[in-house]
């Protein structure tokens, strides 16, 4: 009964946030527009480079790689800003006397937004990439598994930014930290260019960051699919997921204690 009631409560947050996201079409269309611009621009770039390359499939490889990388980045709503606002304005305190967990409530809302973004960007991006490069670097049988792993990465990315949002307990602004995380994702995760083009010593450093499995290992499957890499990406991502969730639980409890004492 308690579990059913929880599903009903948090399911309502998921469905309401989805409806709000669909109602707010400007944001949704803006994201799709940005992704299409990126795909068209990079397609142009890799077509030019591909002409002089020994590998004629370079364009398809990098375009699909870019699409999956951008899906992880662009799907995440600005959760860190929402949480910072909640903490700074005291909104969090006003939810303490409601029979819901504030963290679960915000998580469900953002998970819903992320999923809507993921599906809409994924559909538009897949169609565009397929029209531009019909020769995909993966088989369509591998596609559902790759997409599932990319979705898992998007979920971890969302939680990572949730952790950034909770850091506003100690930091004046989370904007700088969020920007740093995004840059690190580009550098150590190879979100735009695969890490295989970087020197080995750099890849060795990247391996110790969550971005390595979150982006590179996962999206590399789009052009270099193997069962071993699937299990490696899954295992490492689950490890980072546990670590990030651990941090969030600790930060959320610390925050609740502070709110108890100082209020809204």
């Amino acid at each position: 009964m308690a579990i059913k009631s929880r599903f009903r409560k948090y399911g309502a947050f998921i469905s309401l946030a989805a409806r709000q996201a669909i109602t707010n079409k400007t944001v949704l269309c803006g994201g799709i527009f940005l992704l299409l611009i990126l795909l068209l621009t990079y397609n142009q770039l890799w077509t030019v480079i591909g002409k002089d390359s020994a590998d004629p499939s370079i364009n398809a490889t990098f375009l699909w790689y870019l699409l999956f990388g951008e899906l992880i980045i662009l799907s995440a709503p600005k959760v860190e800003r929402i949480l910072e606002q909640d903490i700074k304005s005291g909104t969090l305190a006003y939810y303490l006397n409601k029979p819901v967990s504030f963290f679960m409530m915000r998580f469900c809302e953002n998970l819903s937004l992320m999923s809507i973004n993921f599906v809409s960007l994924g559909l538009a991006g897949t169609l565009t990439a397929w029209l531009l490069t019909p020769q995909t670097p993966f088989t369509w049988l591998q596609f559902p598994l790759i997409v599932s792993l990319v979705y898992l990465s998007s979920l971890i990315n969302l939680l990572l930014y949730t952790a950034v949002g909770f850091s506003s307990l100690w930091l004046e602004h989370t904007k700088t930290l969020a920007m740093a995380v995004q840059r690190l994702a580009f550098i150590f995760g190879g979100a735009i260019f695969p890490l295989s083009i970087y020197p080995e010593w750099f890849v060795d450093i990247a391996r110790w960051t969550p971005f390595y499995s979150l982006y590179y290992l996962t999206i590399k499957l789009s052009y270099d699919f193997s069962a071993a890499d699937v299990s490696r990406a899954l295992g490492l991502n689950c490890l980072w997921l546990a670590f990030i969730i651990g941090f969030i639980i600790w930060a959320y409890r610390t925050m609740q204690k502070r709110v108890n004492v100082y209020g809204g």
């Binding site: 009631s5 009903r8 409560k9 399911g11 309502a12 947050f13 309401l16 409806r19 709000q20 109602t23 707010n24 909104t91 305190a93 006003y94 303490l96 006397n97 409601k98 029979p99 819901v100 108890n260 004492v261 100082y262 209020g263 809204g264």
Partner: protein, 307 residues
């Protein structure tokens, strides 16, 4: 009859960082303690409609936050429906409702009825009971035409009506209202006051309403607690307060020539109607307002008599 709300020597102190310059302040910050609520005690019986009034910064909201389980007190005890609020948040949540005038619990882009449905689910209200309850509240608060409107398109007065409905969906025994009329125009204020009173009377909901507007207490409540600088300075019936301290009315007229004339009348000596008749006969009145004395004056009067 048992008390539904009890507060005993309730105190809340906040430790605030002093703003200062230089490295010393960075490594060794200075703090000051602010006493927001200072040792207050009172008890409220079921069905009572209590106004918790005082000027800005008096400690009204802090008290309501402690009683509605948002804040821990620094010391003292409190019980709401027999439960210690801050230790029984989840259990108590199902029996209390809260409306904070400056916070919204409605979803900005969605029709208000979606927010009501969400409230029903949050409070585990069964589907049939929810429909019945919502239908009653919609009728009482006259919001049928607003149900399909997104929150963003509502006026402040309309939004406040919907906020109150949202907080009543689960049929709470106690309703905490923190400045429910703040920012509203005179007409909207009158409507909200009337609706709050009507609902409380019909459903015997216990009300605790904070405001710095004396009209809120006059129109809604039957008992008044006055708080100033964290201390309780008056706790009695509305009749007592009106007889003792609200016997002055401020009349202001604007004549047709644009001149403004103010008069303070003692209602024990001259009824308002008579005073108004005299003014209308003496001047060519273009506009006229009748107001209660400001909160600061009532508090000053309470202190003076206490001395």
């Amino acid at each position: 009859m048992h008390n539904i709300i009890e507060a005993c020597n309730l105190t809340k102190k906040f430790r605030l960082k002093k703003t200062g310059k230089g490295l010393k302040n960075l490594f060794k910050p200075q703090y000051k303690t602010v006493v927001a609520v200072n040792n207050i005690s009172f008890a409220i019986k079921p069905g009572e409609r209590v106004a918790f009034i005082g000027p800005n910064g008096a400690g009204k909201s802090t008290t309501i936050k402690m009683l509605s389980s948002i804040l821990y007190p620094t010391s003292g005890e409190a019980r709401v429906l027999g439960m210690i609020p801050w230790s029984n948040r989840r259990r108590l949540a199902y029996d209390i409702g809260t409306v904070f005038g400056q916070r919204s619990q409605l979803w900005y882009h969605l029709p208000v009825q979606d927010s009501f449905a969400l409230m029903g689910k949050i409070y585990n209200v069964p589907e049939i009971a929810f429909k019945k309850r919502l239908s009653r509240l919609v009728r009482l608060f006259e919001i049928r035409d607003l149900l399909n409107s997104p929150t963003r398109s509502l006026s402040l007065g309309q939004r406040m009506r919907c906020e109150i409905v949202a907080s009543l969906i689960h049929n709470p025994k106690v309703l905490f209202l923190d400045e429910p009329t703040i920012g509203l125009d005179i007409t909207a204020k009158a409507i909200i006051r009337n609706l709050i009173r009507q609902q409380a009377l019909e459903e015997e909901t216990t009300l605790l309403l904070t405001s710095h507007d004396t009209d809120d207490m006059e129109k809604v409540c039957d008992r008044v607690i006055v708080i100033n600088k964290g201390k309780l300075i008056f706790d009695d019936s509305l009749t007592t307060l009106c007889d003792s301290y609200l016997n002055k009315k401020y009349l202001e007229i604007t004549t047709e020539s644009g001149e403004k004339i103010r008069k303070v009348i003692d209602t024990r000596q001259i009824p308002v109607k008579k005073a108004l008749d005299e003014l209308v006969q003496t001047y060519h009145v273009a506009d006229l307002t009748v107001e209660n004395p400001p909160m600061e004056e009532i508090i000053k009067e309470i202190y003076n008599r206490g001395d």
